[in-house]
Symmetry: D2
Subunit: 403 residues, 4 copies
């Protein structure tokens, strides 16, 4: 593996510095598909709530890479047990895990037939700069990197590093999102978590003495979900995005010529399988410019919804307890002259209650106890046990235009 001439460092508020000393990492960072992530916000509509949440998936991806790098070199057992090739592979997987994201990925899937996770794999495996860089190192490298991202690598440790319950991805985004929103909710002691990591039976575990730090991390996650990610104003923004894309699909079917200027969206409306080039073009700048064009377009619903997104005239919201609640709102919104197909949405899609630990899957957090037994976290943490057993917190809301 070729090293860079000297360790390259990138200043980062979360990690102090991002350290790069493999040439292939440096080349991937400079590849156009990776640079494109500068033009995708990490938190989508959340900057509508926390006005400083303006950081990109580019910065987050570097952060994930840095945590993976520290794990594979600083966790003694990982450093010993993983080959240099595997270390390189998992660092690449950390770096590239989000490369398939598009603008407002979740809402956008209303019109796109390809999910962002698929694009991630395709960008790694198909004809892209990233793929050429990886293949120049080794022909099997793209597949190896992709298999970690899809949680299919034969070495389960590598999968866990990138996508477990205590993985580099989550640890970076909690810390980063906390820093950039300016809340303290997402803070926890990354240093100590890394220090207490061990390997047992092919699983990454934490020492019992580090359990309080892990509880802190779980709480950080819990709070970030409810205070930031599921904030109703962010969901209001996401709802409008969703409705706009839904409307766009209808308009494309009925009046495709009305959308002729929106070249960035057309491949996704027209093709069954948009390709990686179509994906490359559609960054968040393109989408936002598309919205600007829509504000003066022929379809009044698209024009209105796009203007709402650009100028923050968001939907109001009401907590929904039963179907009658929704019906009542629907009637009222319709009476006020709105097409409820595009002016009312009930946020069920994002309501996933917080259930961190699905019994039996490989994503649990494991703790190595003082007596050397390995237990699942909620077995020995009262706090976590309470969260797991507690009734799921739900928050069903309807979103619609303010009176």
């Amino acid at each position: 593996m070729q090293r860079t001439s000297e360790t390259k460092v990138l200043r980062d508020p979360i990690h102090g510095y991002i350290h790069v000393d493999l040439q292939v990492i440096w080349d991937c960072i400079n590849a156009r598909e990776f640079q494109r992530l500068r033009r995708i916000h990490q938190l989508g509509g959340n900057f509508q709530v926390y006005h400083t949440a303006e950081h990109s998936r580019f910065a987050h991806s570097l952060g994930v890479y840095e945590i993976v790098r520290r794990m594979v070199y600083e966790v003694h057992a990982l450093n010993e047990q993983l080959s240099e090739y595997d270390k390189m592979t998992v660092m690449l997987a950390g770096l590239l895990h989000d490369i398939g994201h598009g603008p407002f990925s979740h809402a956008f899937e209303a019109i796109s037939s390809v999910k962002h996770e698929e694009f991630t794999v395709r960008i790694i495996l198909e004809d892209t700069e990233i793929n050429h860089i990886l293949r120049a190192v080794d022909a099997r490298l793209p597949q190896a990197v992709a298999s970690i991202i899809t949680y299919d690598h034969p070495n389960p440790l590598l999968n866990q590093i990138v996508s477990g319950q205590l993985d580099a991805d989550r640890m970076d985004y909690l810390l980063r999102d906390a820093y950039f929103t300016g809340t303290s909710y997402g803070e926890f002691d990354l240093e100590r978590i890394i220090r207490t990591m061990r390997v047992r039976n092919g699983k990454i575990v934490v020492k019992e003495s580090g359990i309080h730090t892990v509880e802190d991390y779980i709480m950080a996650r819990y709070h970030m979900y409810w205070q930031v990610y599921y904030h109703p104003i962010a969901r209001s923004y996401e709802t409008i995005l969703h409705l706009l894309f839904k409307r766009m699909k209808t308009v494309y079917r009925e009046h495709p010529e009305w959308l002729s200027d929106l070249k960035m969206f057309l491949p996704f409306l027209a093709k069954a399988q948009p390709d990686v080039h179509d994906h490359f073009i559609l960054d968040e700048s393109a989408a936002l410019y598309g919205f600007t064009v829509l504000t003066t377009g022929k379809d009044p619903i698209l024009a209105d919804l796009a203007g709402r997104l650009l100028n923050r005239r968001l939907f109001a919201y009401t907590t929904i307890h039963n179907d009658e609640d929704i019906d009542a709102i629907r009637t009222e919104v319709a009476l006020r002259g709105y097409d409820t197909e595009y002016y009312l949405a009930c946020d069920q899609a994002y309501q996933r209650p917080y259930q961190p630990y699905k019994a039996g899957d490989g994503h649990n957090i494991w703790v190595i106890c003082e007596d050397d037994s390995v237990k699942e976290l909620s077995e020995i943490s009262d706090i976590v046990s309470a969260i797991v057993r507690g009734k799921s917190k739900e928050d069903k809301k309807a979103f619609y235009p303010e009176v």
Copy 2:
């Protein structure tokens, strides 16, 4: 003056919270011209150096407003001497002082006949949402706000609050840029500066006991300039921007049809006086999407330069000591087949040496000494005196494609 029903607060990592309790401030924040600032990066090309410098002029503008608000209420003399109307006016001026910025403002002035400062005034005075909001309070308010921004308000205190040497604008951006780049260079004790501010002879002064804090602020500024704002990589990005716009002007003259898809730029190329609506449309998303379009356009130079900006294939640079240095580089770049008109620039425009204190103008920092005399800062600070008298630090560089 109408107050909001309760104080509205926006979480902010620099100030803790931004506090709003005047309705007119809240309405301006929600006006579309202000919301547009979310789509303009505060630091232009600097995120190419500091990858987390992704914050917007929206956040900065809120921060300036917050510092102005604290100054007018917390500096005893300002609180006493300013009317409530003047306080509102200067808070609005702080909030709106950057509203005329476009994408990559400085480079963009290569094609635009209107400077961003002019647009700021026009957005306040012409037919915009902002203007309507201000006029609904009082017909003279737009003019009053604009006059502070142009440093022409009859009450010199108001001008100084927004644009002095120790003004709300600089204090916010130094702190904010330091936070978002992750450097410690821009940090200084805002709290203490506000606490030591007084008013003497119609001037804002600081108490001598606060002089170390002001020295710290001056040093913060000095370091931020050389470590962040004038970083050669940021200047390389700015140089390419400048050359791209220069080339765009030529192409528009020679082959306007090649640019027909670039609706966001056309008014600035075509009109002697683009209007506030043209300005509104051209945010950074639009510009970046324009660059994406250019990468597949007919002009190879524009295509190449746009690709360089999007995919970070920046120019190399060399320090220039005299004309022969430039000539040598020009010859070499030409030999390598490049049109030096668009592939070589010498960064003189940004070289303004750091000269904070122009003798005789009203922008000095004044200190009230223990004997109650008022002196200019460099008279009593050895550090500042040294910076002022020291030879100007220069850094002339040529930028051109890497071999």
Copy 3:
């Protein structure tokens, strides 16, 4: 109430500044009984675990005062409902609530017949500088201040501000202890808690929208207890202190002449009721110097125990599950030649499981819900409910000399 000539400020890392503008507060800070708190560590033996936990009760007391000050002026309802006299009284109570602390208060109560809470009241009411300062303002003021500290003030709001479940005392010490230990466990958003406080039915409540911040505070408390306050090494130190004082009592009974040099401890050994002057003399410097004297004294047990405290030769510890465990350890320690009366202790005294919410008492945290009903925190917070209902975390340990 006399104001200071200008607001006096004391720089503080937790609160930025401590602000004083009442002369009586300033005078109390400068009273000798308050200055003495500089010579009492806030965290007793915890600096044996966290070597930077070297802050004093002086700093903490200023911090409590500052939070009280902010509550009474910044919580709208408190500012409206409390008279200026009551505000002054409760600020004084916050400032003085710990003034009766001695060195290693809890362990010291092994020899002292007077608890530190009693001394606090006596210092306020008896012939001291503090008492003179308070009486100079108003003859009833000492009693009013003391009644808040004993939770007996007729206005329950005042009692709650200083000693509720969400009081100024706890909020300061969690933040302060976290800062000085360098852990992040104790951090929570004080700013936001104050912002969401309201008053309902004579109770301080928090708005439902602030519930996550309160959960964060409860978790901070939970973690600080287990990671810092109940850390076994700190308890080892406390245990030795306890045994040393116990031994001192025996030696005083049997060989009082062996302790004749220990003038700082004698009044507490000799008198049924040591007075406030005796208390004043015995600060932590006096106690530590006393230990130094003991290391060369006639009683070998006192000499050894004192040397252990000064030179950090702490006891080992073992988790105890039942009486047999203790018996086994006792036998072994005795076999190794130690007097188990002074070389073995089972830490039951400090084992109070964490039970924040005693049903029916006035110390609960109350939340005002969106429907305007007032509920106890654990009724609406799943996290807190889980902590309350969860089985008490216990940690019984025996402490004894390392082999």
Copy 4:
């Protein structure tokens, strides 16, 4: 060299963690002479100004050790050029460099014939726990460690690491004192300084690209001196200490029996050469308890001065411009009935103007320029040059009882 069974870590707010993996380091930390440093404040009287400046020389010494450790392992050239034995030696020197400090060292030298630097060497070389621990490793180790502390080690790199102009000692105390006072003055980018360190011609140098960080460090130092270390209130406290010890010497000569209870001070008054055991006994607790005893002693001047120190009744101060100023104050203080021998001091001793760079000595900061030449910092930094050439800032003050 024996390693600890696993790396031991101590949580530290400045460095995150202090890492120990050599047994000899761990043993020295646990030696009684080192533990004694817990009972010596780092900043002497400064906690009278900054009430949270309560940290000890223990914490600082650990911090110096940690920076040395990072330098020898993370600065590539040091890691390569130094033997493991030399690395161990210099880490020990960093750890132990302050071990000879007593309470209020500078003022105390009014009565002590032995300076703290001498005690440091003696504790390392004479019959102490520290000495035994070092000798158990290697008989020459104590001398090797001591020679670094006295700047006499044959390898100049080792001397520079501990006592240069950019040494581990200063870097730790600036950062630490800033943290514990709660000021931002002392902050600078330690990470980056270490990253830019190189070795040239047997000298530690910094890369030119790191020069701004070094300027920041120099400024941090400048500000900390004037804002913290030379703060007039701290000097007032130091002055009273100095006068108290001066008076104690007189009283011991005239009425030694008045001091018979002050066993902690007697060896220093009585012996020409107090020994390391006398030194060990006299920690800050002993001194403070001694002051408490003095407040009720027979000499009224000692009683008064000691009370002033304990209860913060400090001296007032006046800036002195010439001898007449002092004479006038002396006359007035005498008129008010004070013995000016013990109630007036002019603070010349601490007035050392800030002159960091003595031409020709080995303590300069050296910079390796882009052209590979090595220059002294002030040659290439305008800021530093200005500070060096600027007129020395002086602050001569008289201290005496407030009216």
